[in-house]
Symmetry: C2
Subunit: 260 residues, 2 copies
């Protein structure tokens, strides 16, 4: 358990994967500003679906776009993971007290955690020992309404600032979309075992060349009640503790028995 | 445990993240050809460090470059994860019996599994219920010598074809670089807890603009003997069973106790 010293002004690094102009990022900045010294590093492009990509073939560029008391904002050409690296190494030259990423426009529950740029930024911070939380709203609309989740977003960030997180653990928070029903509360749960079933939309360009758009539908066969999908379907906020150790410990004995 | 039916000719899908021309891919194709009907889908560009990125902003294009008895090869503009999706959905219209990815030029042991395009392809297949193995050689050289690992690569693929893998589990295989010392054998192990410490190489372009190259050094503080790093440092092949459930189960109780 890494307890953060409760200083007057914690430093909070903020990023996302929907680019610097996304309303989800603007909302998150607004909610975090009262909590500390804010440093935003976000991409100039939409980086959805970038997973844990890093930029190694092209140079990274970054420019400062805001410099106010307790508020710095930078825009760069990198992925969400690059944003975390630039934020800690080039801007802060130190670890922030908290990294928050999002608020993503669309779910990062279940298997989406694997594809998500929002959660990749969170994992990257976690690898570096920085307490980190990713927030995603179950609404892909660019004009999504975030006001109904304000209290949950702030409360979770405050809790992590106060308590820290277990070593090697970060949080994947998903928030129900605005609806007529009030959010019932928060459930701490596991990642549901679902998957995307791809359907390529294959077309022909004006010159006769074939091309394919990746589409797909989400299929969740995991009907247990301790999952993030179950919590969200029942109008709870889901909080999944996530780690970066991908070892399937339960399979070690079986694979060892192969005597390779 | 998904046991594959032992048919005369299993279908083996092959991809990588170093592009279609990489010698590691050519070696893997050569080793797999005697084992079944081979379908290769590889990228036309180097996709190292792409993590689990998918292509959703631009259309995917793919062309067939080889059509021989029991051998088909396709080149596309996608990421390693896209290659798996195109291979199963557009080329095969079915699940292959095995997905192999690599042989990567460079280590994917320890935390590298998170950044690796090679292993992202393997995880993608695993999510789809396809037995899958990623191979990486601890030599970044494009002309790396792979001949000393032939037997290990083939034996592991044959074993997975014969036995299948536990549900939701794939294999991350790392192979020592060629040296004067003979490889001692195979160790089934866990992912070591290491990380990359970034160092940006910041420069100025001819017009005075600042840019940053991402560099870093690998730091392994995990000195236990049951890790992939330990196996590799002692000249063993490391085999880590990997899964895509990123829930930190051990942290569930603690986070629950926060009563969010």
């Amino acid at each position: 358990m890494t307890k953060n010293k409760l200083r007057k002004k914690p430093t909070i690094l903020i990023t996302n994967d929907d680019s610097y102009s996304a309303s989800g990022l603007r909302k998150l900045i607004k909610l975090m500003r009262p909590l500390g010294h804010i440093v935003v590093v976000a991409s100039d492009q939409v980086m959805s679906g970038m997973g844990h990509a890093i930029t190694i073939k092209t140079p990274l560029r970054m420019k400062q776009v805001a410099d106010e008391p307790d508020y710095e904002e930078y825009v760069c050409n990198g992925t969400p993971v690059d944003c975390v690296k630039l934020g800690t190494q080039v801007v802060l030259h130190a670890k922030p007290d908290l990294l928050v990423s999002g608020i993503n426009h669309g779910s990062n529950a279940s298997i989406n955690v694997i594809y998500s740029g929002t959660m990749a930024a969170v994992l990257e911070a976690c690898i570096d020992g920085i307490p980190a939380v990713g927030y995603s709203l179950l609404d892909y609309n660019l004009d999504a309404d975030f006001d109904h989740v304000d209290d949950f977003v702030v409360k979770i960030a405050q809790k992590v600032l106060a308590e820290g997180l277990p070593e090697g653990v970060c949080l994947n928070v998903n928030l129900p979309a605005m609806s007529d029903n009030k959010i019932k509360g928060v459930k701490v749960c596991r990642q549901s075992h679902a998957r995307w079933v791809e359907e390529f939309d294959s077309r022909q360009d004006p010159r006769g060349g074939k091309y394919h758009w990746l589409t797909g539908k989400f299929e969740n066969d995991d009907l247990a009640e301790d999952t993030d999908q179950h919590a969200l379907e029942n109008n709870y906020v889901s909080v999944v503790p996530v780690h970066f150790d991908m070892t399937a410990y339960k399979a070690l004995v079986e694979i060892e028995s192969w005597n390779l």
